[in-house]
């Protein structure tokens, strides 16, 4: 019987192709579980799962393959599949010599299409390939790797998710978790198909995965590890094969790692938890004290635990993944906390966010806090100052006028040796060329709300803040 040594590099070495590398991780895990088995026996084991446990349901990966082909029923799927891999291993399938597009090695190349490769395009339409070749030409090891991908991928909503990372240990962790969950279901005879994620959207799933990679003892992420995670959300099914890429950037990972540390964690979590939304449970409000969402329907109260609402849409995760600012969300959250007169301490998280993800200088943030402290010093003037900032400052010019007026007030009131804001601080810290603008106002407002709550100073707010559509639900 033809076989190849699966311990050799070509079956398991890192290629950079997310699908080939996922398949390689699965092969390694199966080999660790059954070191005595040949690669053909491992293929047979996977085939048994696909055919007997999953009923051939790997259509999202392979279109019209030996397993998903509707013409083949029951055990015939397995027989045809095994016969194909035997021919492939013994070079009985048509091949040509050349360089593999994924491994980069000069070797025997075999044609791939949507039946044995993920998102390789149809062999029918030849102008998508070099020189009208019928499909991508790759080494047999790549085709074998692809076959194992379903055991290391997860269904996320309608499509399949595969995770890639610059650090192999992070990538391997994701595959290992899925593979082991699959094996548990198979051993309990509960496996029905590709493993389904509790999540339906990639943003929540990526944050959950990042959180898991930071909290597991299986891998150690060092302080200086620069971790980036990519999620390939795809389907190879039917007439619309498609792929969407989501990136959890190294910078975001570094921020998130710090936000999940003991000194930030509870406030960050409390902030993020306020921003879950679910159309089926619209009107549900977050209760920070119980860490539950509460919904009243026809005078009946319904509570949702974290395990339930963690799969709801979360605008914070959504924005962070798209590199969009969440500063407005911090502001509205602070403003609502202020209206509730609840003491909160979001500033350290805001500071972390601004320094890590927006390269803002610590000196800028310190200066903003110092200005806020001055603005609330005189209780008689707080209301006028706060409302003026809220309602009359809507562009950078007005903000600069407000700050200059504040410098003047400070000078008149205190006759200080040093102004509240020096020219250097005004130019270099608050308004460096082409940078922050109205972000400074938002930060100043956050600092003011927090300080007013801390000092228990209620101020009558005039007018309404303009809230965005993605405002959180507050109780």
């Amino acid at each position: 019987m033809a076989t190849i040594d699966y311990k050799q590099d070509y079956l398991t070495q890192r290629t950079g192709d997310p699908f080939a590398d996922t398949g390689a991780h699965v092969i390694q895990l199966m080999q660790e579980k059954s070191p005595e088995k040949t690669i053909l026996q491992l293929i047979e084991e996977a085939t048994n799962i696909y055919v007997r446990n999953w009923g051939g349901g790997i259509n999202a990966f392979f279109l019209n393959s030996k397993i998903t082909q509707p013409a083949f029923l029951g055990e015939r799927k397995k027989e045809e599949s095994m016969a194909y891999f035997q021919r492939l291993l013994s070079n009985e399938e048509p091949y040509e010599e050349g360089y593999c597009r994924i491994l980069g090695q000069k070797t025997k190349l075999f044609s791939t299409g949507r039946d044995n490769h993920i998102l390789a395009g149809s062999g029918t339409f030849i102008n998508f390939h070099h020189g009208y070749q019928e499909g991508l030409k790759v080494a047999k090891e790549v085709i074998i790797r692809m076959f194992f991908v379903p055991l290391g991928a997860i269904q996320l909503g309608k499509n399949i998710a595969v995770i890639g990372s610059n650090l192999e240990k992070v990538e391997a962790l994701f595959v290992e978790d899925i593979f082991k969950a699959n094996m548990v279901e198979v051993s309990h005879k509960q496996a029905k198909g590709v493993l389904k994620s509790d999540f339906t959207n990639p943003a929540n799933a990526l944050f959950e995965f990042a959180s898991k990679s930071l909290n597991t003892s299986k891998v150690v992420i060092e302080e200086d590890d620069q971790v980036e995670i990519h999620l390939y959300h795809f389907t190879n099914f039917g007439a619309s094969p498609e792929v969407n890429l989501y990136c959890f950037s190294a910078r975001l990972f570094a921020f998130y790692r710090k936000a999940m540390k003991i000194n930030y964690r509870s406030i960050w979590q409390s902030f993020v938890n306020d921003f879950y939304r679910n159309s089926k449970n619209s009107g549900a409000v977050y209760n920070n004290a119980t860490n539950q969402y509460e919904l009243e329907v026809k005078k009946e109260k319904k509570n949702f635990e974290y395990q339930e609402y963690r799969v709801w849409f979360n605008v914070i995760y959504h924005k962070l993944l798209r590199n969009q600012s969440i500063l407005k969300n911090f502001l509205y959250w602070s403003s609502n906390k202020y209206k509730q007169q609840a003491v909160f301490n979001i500033w350290p998280v805001v500071e972390l966010y601004q320094t890590q993800l927006h390269n803002m200088k610590k000196t800028t943030l310190d200066k903003i806090r110092q200005i806020a402290d001055y603005l609330i010093e005189d209780e008689d003037k707080i209301k006028r100052r706060l409302n003026r900032l809220r309602l009359e400052v809507s562009n950078v010019y007005q903000l600069k006028r407000f700050l200059i007026q504040t410098i003047g007030d400070h000078y008149q009131e205190k006759q200080p040796a040093r102004p509240l804001i020096t020219l250097e601080e005004f130019v270099d810290d608050l308004f460096p060329e082409g940078t922050y603008g109205l972000e400074i106002k938002d930060l100043l407002m956050i600092a003011l709300y927090e300080r007013l709550c801390e000092k228990n100073i209620p101020v009558e707010l005039e007018g309404e803040d303009v809230l965005e559509d993605d405002r959180p639900n507050f109780n």
Binding site: T15, R101, N127, V243
Partner: protein, 222 residues
């Protein structure tokens, strides 16, 4: 180090993930080495056999968007030839807007090709026409542990830098059909990331971005 820099710009660009064919065709945010070497061949008007080429490049863009594009799919006929039968379809293609490619090479022969390019220069598809903005000789400072690695691809092995990881070719053969050469995993690092910690030796071009960019030089032998 004294070297030459060729600045090339284009309105649009699109660099496909080499092994993904899908209804949404994403673009890499930095071209692979094979695209850059192909660009040199277009300028030279011939296939160049590189015995020992040392080359670096930097790529930036103003925006990324998705456009609808009509594609024509030709069915296979007998003997692997294209048939007369085909059909059209619509796909979504990502593209990059307002692009700049800076090419660094100390070999004046390579640089001279860009003074009078033989074939049109393209950054991706046939419609992504590019033009040479300027060619100049510049001095780059050597950096032992590069931090400002941006707008480039860096070999994954030994570096493991954050970025989209992809198996990318370095060059293509001069045969029919063409074959990719030197495929290996690379970190594709977009132009607007923050500083990284690396052990990579590079050369800093102070004129790029606000604080300069560290250019990694690929050593390519055919």
């Amino acid at each position: 180090m004294k070297t030459y820099r060729v600045d090339i710009s284009s309105w649009t660009a699109s660099f496909r993930y080499p092994n993904l064919i899908s209804g949404l065709q994403p673009t890499l945010e930095v071209p692979p080495l094979s695209t850059v070497l192909g660009l040199i061949n277009a300028a030279a008007g011939q296939y160049l056999e590189h015995e020992d080429l040392i080359i670096g490049y930097y790529f930036e863009f103003a925006a990324k968007a998705t456009d609808l594009e009509t594609i024509y799919m030709i069915e296979a006929g007998k003997n692997g030839q294209g048939s007369n039968s085909g059909k059209s379809n619509v796909i979504q293609r990502e593209f990059l807007f307002e692009n700049r490619l800076s090419l660094y090479c100390a070999d004046s022969k390579i640089i001279d090709f860009f003074r009078e390019p033989v074939f049109p220069l393209l950054l991706g598809r046939s419609g992504d026409l590019a033009s040479v903005e300027q060619i100049e000789e510049i001095e780059l400072a050597e950096i032992d542990h590069a931090e400002k690695i941006r707008g480039q691809i860096i070999p994954l092995k030994g570096n493991f830098l954050p970025g989209v990881i992809q198996a990318l070719p370095k060059y293509f053969t001069n045969t029919f059909p063409r074959q990719n050469i030197g495929t290996e995993p690379f970190s594709v690092i977009r132009y607007n990331v923050f500083d990284l910690t690396t052990k990579i030796a590079a050369f800093r071009d102070h004129t790029l971005q606000k604080d300069g960019v560290d250019i990694y030089f690929h050593h390519f032998k055919l």
